[in-house]
């Protein structure tokens, strides 16, 4: 098993923390993993990304070579496009389609959607709306939508959520589970 995942979004939106949950599940399954991220100046409202590599074989580089990512998981539609050079030809994009506009020259959404439509495998939906309904964070909804393409069973991801959020109380765990399941259902549509 090998999955190379690019997680991306805008500094401070919490998408990179999703990597932690997937990592926890992968570690429990005895997979090798490497997860790299960038701290410092780039974090301040700029474009951010993390590379997560899972494999049953040894992993060498900390970063995914271009053209090899199985999944781009993005909290923002334009950011998903920014990391396209990493996507394998048959890879999947799972992205929030709600734009985060903190720059003056944000492109026309129709053009962004048109570019996304050129990619073979795309799951694009408004994760913010679903998050509002289940009263949870959109990044957990996006995680749920990624699970069918992850090669990791939903139950293993649930275990990881229990493990990571367990000390914050049952309510927090429950909220995250709801968001996870809502995203999971969305991806199957």
């Amino acid at each position: 098993m090998k999955k190379d995942i690019v997680l991306c979004g805008v500094g401070g939106d919490g998408i990179v923390s999703v990597a932690k949950i997937i990592s926890d599940a992968a570690l429990n399954m005895g997979l090798n993993l490497k997860q790299s991220e960038i701290h410092g100046m780039s974090q301040r409202g700029g474009s951010v990304f993390s590379h997560l590599r899972l494999s049953s074989e040894p992993i060498f580089a900390d970063v995914i070579p271009e053209g090899q990512a199985d999944i781009i998981l993005s909290s923002e539609p334009m950011e998903a496009l920014r990391y396209l050079p990493w996507l394998a030809k048959d890879g999947w994009i799972i992205t929030n389609n709600e734009p985060f506009v903190n720059i003056a020259n944000y492109p026309d959404m129709e053009k962004v959607n048109a570019e996304l439509a050129k990619i073979k495998n795309v799951v694009s939906f408004n994760a913010n709306e679903i998050a509002k309904v289940v009263k949870a964070r959109s990044n957990m909804v996006l995680l749920g939508a990624t699970v069918p393409y992850l090669g990791i069973e939903l139950a293993k991801v649930e275990e990881a959520i229990n493990h990571i959020f367990g000390n914050k109380g049952a309510e927090v765990v429950e909220q995250n589970m709801k968001a996870l399941h809502a995203g999971y259902e969305q991806a199957k549509k």
């Binding site: 993993l33 060498f60 900390d62 962004v112």
Partner: protein, 526 residues
């Protein structure tokens, strides 16, 4: 032992705690910050009585480590690459002393993700003539802290420990070793070695020269450097640190057909490199940094077998290394990805919504608009992003705002305004401000006080709660130290105050004080 999922930085920190380290004294700087933070948060470190401090700057931090070593205990000081410039003095002299039990951990930043240059710390280690370690992965990062202290204590030398951004900020599973006890408090075996009077220093420098063969012997024999045979002798490859991973990424079966010398310990292993040179037709050097090894192998005249790498730009000289660049150098094809669609626009980092610096810069910009010849000398921190607001003209190095403003004002620039954060002021601003006072320079120094060192994630600021008193103590006239609160509602008043101080002929300090918005949110959550 248990397997932990750790950043390269955290692996070093856990290594320090497990290797019987007594004190870690550092200054925050991306990508090194998480090492010291991890030790500070570690319950195990607390239980073992490990001391963990943020110091005023890298120089004071490393000097504290030399003090720890004087007392016979194990010390570590961590910093980003440019921090090594700041502590160049104690660094070079710690080498002369032959300081035992000191690791100097330096995180380099190839591709400048959060830095102003790409300097490669290995040149410093070579210059100081001390052993260096450059782990290739998180497990080695952990193991090499144990090894580094053994090396340091056995051979009587500080050890430079170099990592690049990608290792610092990438997680992988790490298996721990048993915990070693800390050293006992002892007197130095050679009491004179810590007194660098010329008579002692001459002897010690000779001793450092005489230790070199032992350093090289360790590089040959420790097992960290490896000669890996290969059947295709047309090319020999030398990798340093994480460059090995970028090489192997190109061979899915985990077998490279060319002979490889994998280097993670310096001085360079002479015998291994000679063996490679004799066996192959040409040599390719892969380094995540400047062409340090390549320069050594090639020599000034570049005679002998062809040596390729970053010097001859077989691989671009600037920017971090990656698997794609290695593939290209090897003439291998990789699957090309998609290109970035034209519709994608830049999303550069920016000051946060509600950041106090924005209000300070809005007021300053309003004042400077009326003074066409004026210049604003900036510094290092979040507020460097004021460049995107057209608010600053320069950013060079920690503390240079005040001193550059002084120099520029003395030869005719008016008004000369310096903008520096509270953290950077504590790091390197005080001495510059004293220069200004001593010459009665016509400068306005704005010390943006947000209560913390924000850029690196909210470490305490060394000048916290005493900026006014420091300025008074350095001799700035109390009536020209002005406190303002950077908020939109105070804009007019702040503009007036800055304008008044611009028109005062002498040293003025303005302290816009409001807590960092990120820090404030953190506290509200608690």
């Amino acid at each position: 032992m248990e397997k932990l999922l750790l950043l390269g930085d955290e692996a070093i920190a856990q290594g320090f705690i497990d290797a019987g380290g007594s004190a870690i004294n550092s200054y925050p700087g991306t990508p090194s910050t998480q090492i010291t933070e991890y030790v500070m948060k570690s319950k195990q470190a607390r239980e073992q009585g490990v001391i963990a401090n943020w110091c005023a700057n890298e120089k004071t931090a490393l000097e504290a480590s030399i003090g720890v070593a004087y007392a016979g205990k194990r010390a570590m000081t961590c910093m980003k690459h440019v921090g090594l410039n700041v502590c160049g003095d104690p660094f070079m002299n710690a080498a002369i002393i032959g300081t035992k039990g000191v690791l100097v951990v330096v995180a380099d930043d190839p591709s400048m993700f959060s830095s102003q240059d790409e300097q490669d710390s290995r040149y410093y280690g070579h210059w100081a003539m001390i052993p260096m370690l450059e782990p290739s992965n998180q497990q080695e990062a952990y193991d090499m802290v144990h090894f580094g202290f053994e090396l340091s204590e056995k051979l009587g030398t500080p050890v430079l420990y170099r990592i690049p951004t990608r290792l610092a900020h990438s997680r992988a599973g790490v298996v721990r070793k048993p915990v070693r006890p800390q050293n006992e408090l002892t007197e130095p075996a050679d009491a004179k070695s810590f007194v660098l009077l010329p008579a002692n220093a001459k002897r010690l420098y000779r001793e450092l020269i005489d230790k070199q063969p032992a350093f090289t012997k360790s590089s040959e024999e420790s097992g960290f450097n490896k000669y890996i045979p290969g059947e295709n002798k047309k090319l020999g490859i030398i990798t340093t640190g994480i460059a090995y991973n970028y090489l192997m990424e190109n061979f899915k079966d985990g077998h490279c057909p060319y002979p490889v010398v994998k280097i993670t310990q310096y001085p360079l292993p002479y015998d291994m490199l000679n063996k490679l040179y004799d066996e192959v037709d040409e040599i390719l050097v892969l380094e995540d940094g400047q062409p340090f090894v390549e320069e050594h192998i090639k020599g000034f005249l570049g005679k002998g077998k062809k040596v390729m790498g970053r010097l001859d730009e077989t691989i671009r000289r600037d920017g971090e290394l990656n698997a794609e660049k290695v593939a290209k150098a090897l003439g291998m094809k990789m699957d090309a990805g998609f290109s970035v669609p034209e519709v994608v626009t830049n999303r550069p980092p920016a000051l946060c919504q509600g950041c106090p610096h924005v209000d300070s810069y809005n007021a300053l910009n309003a004042v400077m608009a009326n003074h066409k010849g004026g210049k604003v000398f900036g510094d290092i921190g979040c507020y460097t992003l004021g460049f995107n607001m057209g608010a600053i003209n320069t950013t060079v190095c920690m503390g240079a705002s005040i001193t550059m403003a002084k120099g520029a004002s003395e030869v005719g620039i008016f008004p000369a305004v310096a903008v520096i954060g509270d953290g950077t002021f504590g790091h390197s601003g005080l001495t510059g401000l004293m220069d200004c006072v001593n010459e009665n320079a016509n400068v306005v120094v704005m010390i943006l006080d947000n209560d913390i060192t924000a850029m690196t994630g909210g470490q305490p600021s060394s000048a916290h709660n005493k900026i006014r008193r420091i300025c008074e103590g350095l001799g700035v006239a109390p009536e020209h130290i002005r406190d303002i609160v950077p908020l939109p509602k105070n804009h007019e008043e702040n503009v007036r105050i800055i304008e008044e101080e611009v028109n005062y002929n002498g040293v003025s300090v303005i302290i816009p004080h409001r807590t960092c918005i990120v820090e404030l949110k953190k506290h509200m959550k608690k």
